[in-house]
Chain length 331, copies 4
């Protein structure tokens, strides 16, 4: 039974709390949030305690789950690592790659498992695409197309501190591409437009973007993003190679199809957002983390994966600003 | 080059005329219709002559296509057979099985090819289902489900002489079942309701029907019919057996799918009716008839197939009226 | 918090136990099974006690869930009703309609809620079909087609006491038809074949069946059943009416589609069986039962629904044996 | 009745010849090919004459269809325009934009209709996507994704004179993007890999490519290409905007779906290549050209469309070689 301290009691923190509470191998011991009433609410829902401080939270648990705001991640990772607590941390590690590098150095010798919350790797459908690719089912991979569109823009307050579309949203797609490819991306081109929210211009951000990347083997990757898909959270992957194609499609609440005089086979809107679409993925992610801790093995999605996805996000911004394909180095 | 006389210049006759005219191995020589202006119009469209009489039409051609009203079929078949002209005749042979038996006797020794126009056997998708079944792809056939719904009711004038739903509409499905099964049906249960047009009550007809049949092997067959599907002409077949299932689906004008906030993946209405859905089937049916004539072989869909489908239609009416499953005999 | 006694600790009992344990409004208090080790195992998994007798089990709980063998249902219902315990009982109530009638009389005045476990009513997709029909989305219902095929035959030992295909398997479809129609079925025709397991001949049972029913309004219903679908548990509903059609389709483990030189868009096999396909339905069923108890309202799926489905199953056997459509009376 | 001279009697010329011959408003008068036996064969198939020279071919017809090798297009366009013959010319106009500009100048004042054979504009499904976009069905267009993959590489002899992937293959997608967008593309990024045929390295060509383009409005366009899709000719379009999404999918020979123990709903391979997939488009293209000539209006797909698609193809090569997004100018 792994006793968890949860950092961050917002929407995603509350979801993780429920998953921990429902997991027979885990228990929610304590909750910490700078906004104490949020911590109290989540703690109360699952019979956990409210930790008065980070230090207190770290003192008496077996593992930590970090779901607080992005700017707190590296400090919490460092503190938890120094306390010897295995860490499951939401993405991204940090928006500033320098802070990520510094954190990497600080925790380097501590030998504490760190797993980054790239939930999509645990989606059964995306995972099946990856498994098919790795089994050689499509032959050498030649084209990978990732469609990734949010149902709606987050509030402007969040957008201001989000780091922009690439480290905030596309970062999941960068990681998913690496996961499926099984090799590194060496070149990134990205471009974007403001098509949803004009106020993003003040943030030098975009809400609609396209990325093309090249892997070491020459395989090409495309990602397209929008911050607003009215028909729901659109998450698809298409892997194409010498022997064929494997695609993962969206999920809907039902399998119902409706036919009328105007149209046939109309289906439900897509599941609304990540909480709904990746519900099972979050459960499986937690189980995989617990497995790693119990088996004393490295987590499947490590700190280095979080770092590399951020390097790709930075390269995407550099490309968007320069209009050039950017060569990527990870050392 | 097979020169055809066409009997009947209505909607379906005009379609056959166009197919004959476009076929490089056929020519439309003459058109006969009791309503002479109709014959003139179709003949003019394809540079054919108007035949002044049935005898004249039969005098100087290589083959006949009979697309006149149902009550004229047996007389025309008999006349054409006596004139030694190969015959492609629209279904049904006749509504009265006694007239069919009489016709059978009259043409018995004449050795003239007669093909009945069961167009659905030539639909590429239904045919692929049959081929899969006959190749053993689904293993021994256990369940066969045929969905067959018209877009709208024909005019009451036509309904009055149609013979009712089973010989007029379901007869196609009876034939398709025999085609796919590759064995004979031995038992028929049928029931119906009036759900579309109350005036059908005066004709002792129904517009909504369900049939269950048993084949000699024990395979079970279901047919469901409606005279009005607002989303288009609904024509599907599902063959299920020990090794799996093969299904044929409908066709649409495009492959487009539309997604909005209300629904996703909505497709076009189905192709409107038999002229659209079975356009290719009518072309292939004609080619197969020409092949049979040229190769001096029996047509693939013979007089006996037309007769047996009518026996099944009669059994369906008997069952609907008695509430009992009817044992079918073909001798 | 509703404390449950569970009767029956077999496969389906174990599943119900897990659902009760995971439900925040329920607790698994005790487990009873004539085979005590089974009860012990399930009880241990959820920290419940093993009840030494039925009476003991009924003594100290708020509700009972009956998942024991079919022949014990009416006695347990009667005992629990006399003890004043709300009851959620797996289908069927009993195989013998006389025993059902007797049970009905015995519990008539006791005013204890009894819910029958027709899980399919809670499947989100089938339920959406029913909701669409009841909202009038397809207009007056004209045709209802239910496809219901098990992945494989149960062991012969079970088959011997199953009551045969109609009360054992089709009973779910009878109930689903009533649920979607919102009106009573007045006529039943059924026929079957042995296509899967020849040994069923000794049981006078069949493994492949087709049913056609007529509702009071004239709406027609078709059910087709097989005891062996190699591609998975096939559960589909199609409701057709004056304004269109609504269909519920199967579920698969992923949304993946695979394309190779031989075939395109190939999807996963269907979810294996009821435990997988109706996992969510069982959870929702339990919640609806708890709602009914808490709100002191009648359960949505009552004893009378169980009784009527059995009357239809009996009518199906009568029809299969007589070859006649059977008029159904429920009084 | 428009009498055509056909230039080029290869595979695509033969197809156009058949379409002209089958069109009731057109006649194939003569065929010219530098390889005379090819001309003879096509002419014989449709009762046309073999033209001894270009001049002879132009002398006595109402229109010309140019389906000869790419390097002959501008000379034939110029000659036909000077002879006052309306022109339907296969894409591309020429591989060298200078030759295109020169041709443009030479035919500028002649006022002869020139239509470029961008067949995909006439595909009913792609066209429906465009119509939906232009009707505002998806709102302001934000993302356009074009998947375009050939079934197999052409022979190396052809590849050597093809101009490479962008003017040879992607040019169709450039035109389709312009057609759907209804506005001009202002920026092009392209990159490619050799994944299919290593020998392409000697031609400085690629066989696998990705393009990202930006339109004047900020709408983003992605194209992905492969020279080898083993499952058939893959041609899909996805238009996404503020109000939803419209997608066109591929076509198959049948609508059949197959389910076995290993997989469900497997469909046919895609139609093999452009001759099969765009069969109807070629017919409609010809009809639209005849309409334009008869109605004395400009063709819907003009010389300028051919020129702009080539400018985009050139920009794609420039981008692939420089690693930069290229700003596009059309003046």
């Amino acid at each position: 039974m792994l006793r968890f301290a949860l950092f961050g009691a917002g929407r995603i923190g509350a979801m993780h709390a429920a998953n921990i509470a429902a997991n027979p191998r885990a228990a929610l011991h304590s909750v910490y949030d700078v906004h104490r009433p949020a911590a109290e609410k989540v703690a109360a829902a699952h019979g956990a305690t409210v930790a008065p401080s980070v230090a207190a939270a770290l003192a008496d648990v077996d593992a930590v789950l970090i779901a607080s705001s992005t700017d707190t991640h590296v400090d919490l990772i460092t503190a938890a690592a120094k306390a010897g607590r295995p860490i499951l941390c939401e993405k991204p590690i940090h928006l500033d790659i320098q802070r990520v590098e510094q954190c990497r150095r600080e925790i380097a010798g501590l030998n504490v498992p760190v797993q980054i919350g790239f939930n999509r790797r645990y989606d059964p459908s995306h995972r099946a695409v990856r498994d098919a690719v790795h089994r050689g089912e499509v032959g050498p991979l030649e084209l990978l197309v990732i469609t990734s569109r949010d149902p709606s823009l987050a509030p402007m307050e969040y957008m201001k501190v989000s780091g922009g579309i690439y480290p905030d949203m596309t970062i999941h797609d960068f990681d998913l591409a690496r996961f499926i490819l099984g090799e590194e991306l060496v070149e990134v081109y990205a471009t974007g437009s403001i098509r949803v929210e004009p106020a993003l211009a003040q943030l030098n951000d975009v809400d609609t973007a396209m990325v093309v990347m090249k892997a070491a083997s020459g395989a090409l990757v495309h990602i397209n993003n929008s911050r607003r898909a009215v028909y729901g959270y659109d998450q698809r992957v298409e892997a194409f190679g010498a022997k064929g194609m494997v695609q993962s499609d969206n999920r809907r609440a039902t399998t119902v199809r409706r036919s009328t005089a105007e149209r046939t086979d109309a289906r439900d809107p897509l599941l609304h957002f990540f909480i709904e679409r990746y519900a099972q993925a979050y459960v499986d992610e937690l189980n995989d983390f617990i497995d790693a801790v119990e088996q004393k093995r490295a987590p499947a999605v490590g700190f280095e994966d979080g770092r590399r996805a951020l390097i790709l996000a930075d390269a995407a911004w550099e490309s968007t600003r320069s209009g050039r394909a950017v060569q990527v180095r990870y050392d």
